[in-house]
């Protein structure tokens, strides 16, 4: 494990994730002349072990960026490198956590956590053991045999996190994972996520539109503008870890919130299909 480094550094060769001049344009399904540029010339680098958030208004292309990093979609131009190698498609070196939990309804919590393990060829007792351990990590040890429909939204999202962690990825990609849970649960989940992250400080790319959430969790926050998505600001957050609820009331926190909101406020208004 490399030395934890909570500050971003410009591309100096040691970057773990490199996004270089990525562009992505969507074409309307029926009207081929209607196009929407989702991402415009997006570039950033990230050192290993960094918790990086991307904040931006809805529809700014931040989720698209995450899907490009995961390899579920491909960029029109530009390059995404992980550990120096270009992303060619989804891989088990990246664990994806979705906005809606996307659990298989016909599998219990433990069955869902084991899904990625099966791709690694881990089955039987070893799979059960690892899935159980991960459910324990996310605080759901007692709910292993529950179906997703029997779990609350927050619990489902924990299962989704456990599923991503189970494959022990080098990198965790999280797409607004707490956007759909209630405010109280969200605060708890944020603190839980930091606790879990501190266990082995994986590299994380965390997408959110919640400025408080981004500051609370991250080492680095990138601000994206409204469509076409461009990175318009990079903010370093250096509160000591583990962080607790109290930092949310501090003047530094308020100043960071203010700075991010200010940056977001000046992004262009929504441009739909032109």
């Amino acid at each position: 494990m490399p030395e934890p480094n909570h500050t971003p550094t410009p591309s100096d060769g040691s970057a773990f994730l490199e996004v270089r001049n990525v562009n992505k344009t969507f074409t309307h399904a029926r009207n081929k002349s209607a196009r929407m540029q989702a991402l415009k010339d997006v570039s950033f680098t990230m050192k290993p072990g960094t918790f990086l958030s991307i904040v931006g208004p809805s529809g700014c292309g931040k989720s698209t960026l995450l899907r490009l990093i995961d390899g579920l979609q491909t960029a029109d131009s530009g390059e995404i490198l992980i550990g120096g190698r270009p992303v060619r498609g989804p891989g088990l070196d990246r664990g994806l956590v979705f906005q809606s939990p996307n659990l298989l309804p016909w599998r219990t919590a433990i069955g869902n956590v084991g899904f990625g393990l099966e791709s690694l060829g881990i089955r039987g007792a070893e799979k059960t053991k690892r899935a159980k351990a991960l459910l324990d990590t996310v605080g759901l040890a007692d709910f292993a045999d529950f179906y997703p429909s029997q779990l609350s939204g927050g619990m489902q999202q924990r299962v989704g996190l456990a599923r991503a962690l189970a494959i022990d990825p080098a990198m965790l990609l999280m797409d607004e994972p707490f956007a759909a849970v209630d405010a109280q649960t969200k605060l708890v989940l944020q603190e839980e996520l930091e606790r879990i992250w501190l266990l082995d400080e994986k590299s994380v790319v965390f997408i959110t539109h919640d400025v408080d959430e981004a500051i609370f969790l991250s080492d680095v926050v990138l601000v994206m503008s409204k469509s076409p998505g461009e990175i318009i600001d990079t903010v370093t957050v250096d509160f000591p870890r583990p962080r607790n609820f109290d930092i949310r009331g501090s003047a530094e926190f308020a100043a960071l919130v203010r700075r991010l909101l200010d940056a977001l406020r000046h992004t262009r208004p929504a441009g739909a299909f032109e």
Binding site: G91, F98, G116, P148, S149, M155, V188, E192
Partner: protein, 275 residues
């Protein structure tokens, strides 16, 4: 996160009136409600039967007597063999319908090639095809099996295909993100997702299989069909209605059996869990 363990009852609770609670709890039971409704309907039927007389409607005891007669004169044995033929045709429609449905739902090409015929046959009146089937297959097992098969299979094909197409693309994306191959995605995501649809198709298919079986028998007027027609022509109403009741009960019980099977097979399904 706080795990909700709220076991306390409602804050406001009306005091139950003593002595009436057993009646209330009884009234909440499904079997009791059914018993009340059916007893009522049976009583109404009995009264009407007495009023209009046995020429139009046999009494309940006459129908029960008719059922006993059916057992004695071997009619039920003939019906059983017709049912066996139906089961063969129905089983065949499942064995053929599910894979075809999966193929049609999963592959645009297969849908393009077969969809036209399947949908065409689906909207065609199959009764119009019966004379052709008699010409082709004669009056034997093949004819009866093919009628039941045709009556059931299209529901199974189309429902299964719809189920495969209905799979949540987000779940498929999840499968891709977590390294599942195309075949593993099909086995772990698409097929379980299509299963409730397929079972619904099988249930509709079963109801139609019963209808097809009766129709096939009536058309050729042999064996079981001969018995049914004979009872009608001779106006042997007690036996005729007894036969009707037996077929209806068999269809209902097999449908309920399928429902129980579905519940067992898809314990995650919301639609079946609470019922």
């Amino acid at each position: 996160m706080s795990i909700s363990t709220d076991t306390a009852g409602p804050l406001v609770e009306s005091a139950p009136s003593p002595g009436r609670t057993w009646l209330k709890s009884l009234a909440g039971r499904r079997w009791f409600r059914r018993l009340v409704v059916w007893s009522f309907l049976a009583a109404v039927y009995q009264v009407v039967a007495y009023i209009v007389g046995p020429f139009y409607l046999p009494t309940l005891q006459a129908i029960i007597g008719g059922a006993i007669d059916l057992g004695r004169d071997g009619s039920l044995t003939t019906m059983a063999s017709a049912l066996v033929q139906m089961v063969i045709g129905f089983a065949l429609s499942i064995v053929v319908g599910i894979p075809l449905g999966v193929a049609m739902g999963a592959s645009r090409l297969v849908d393009y090639v077969l969809g036209f015929y399947v949908k065409g046959m689906f909207v065609t009146s199959l009764i119009a095809v019966l004379p052709l089937l008699i010409i082709v297959f004669g009056f034997g097992l093949a004819y009866r099996v093919s009628v039941v098969f045709l009556f059931a299979v299209f529901f199974i094909i189309l429902n299964t295909a719809a189920g495969v197409r209905d799979v949540d693309p987000q779940l498929v994306a999840m499968g891709r993100a977590f390294g599942a191959s195309r075949w593993r995605r099909a086995a772990t995501i698409t097929l379980p997702s299509a299963l409730p649809f397929a079972i619904a198709g099988i249930r509709i298919g079963l109801a139609n299989a019963f209808g097809g079986m009766i129709l096939a028998e009536l058309w050729i007027a042999r064996d079981f069909g001969q018995i049914m027609l004979g009872l009608a022509y001779n106006r042997d109403l007690p036996k005729f209605l007894a036969l009707l009741v037996i077929v209806t009960l068999l269809a209902s019980f097999s449908a309920a059996g399928l429902k129980a099977f579905e519940k067992w097979l898809t314990p995650w399904s919301r639609s079946t869990r609470d019922r």
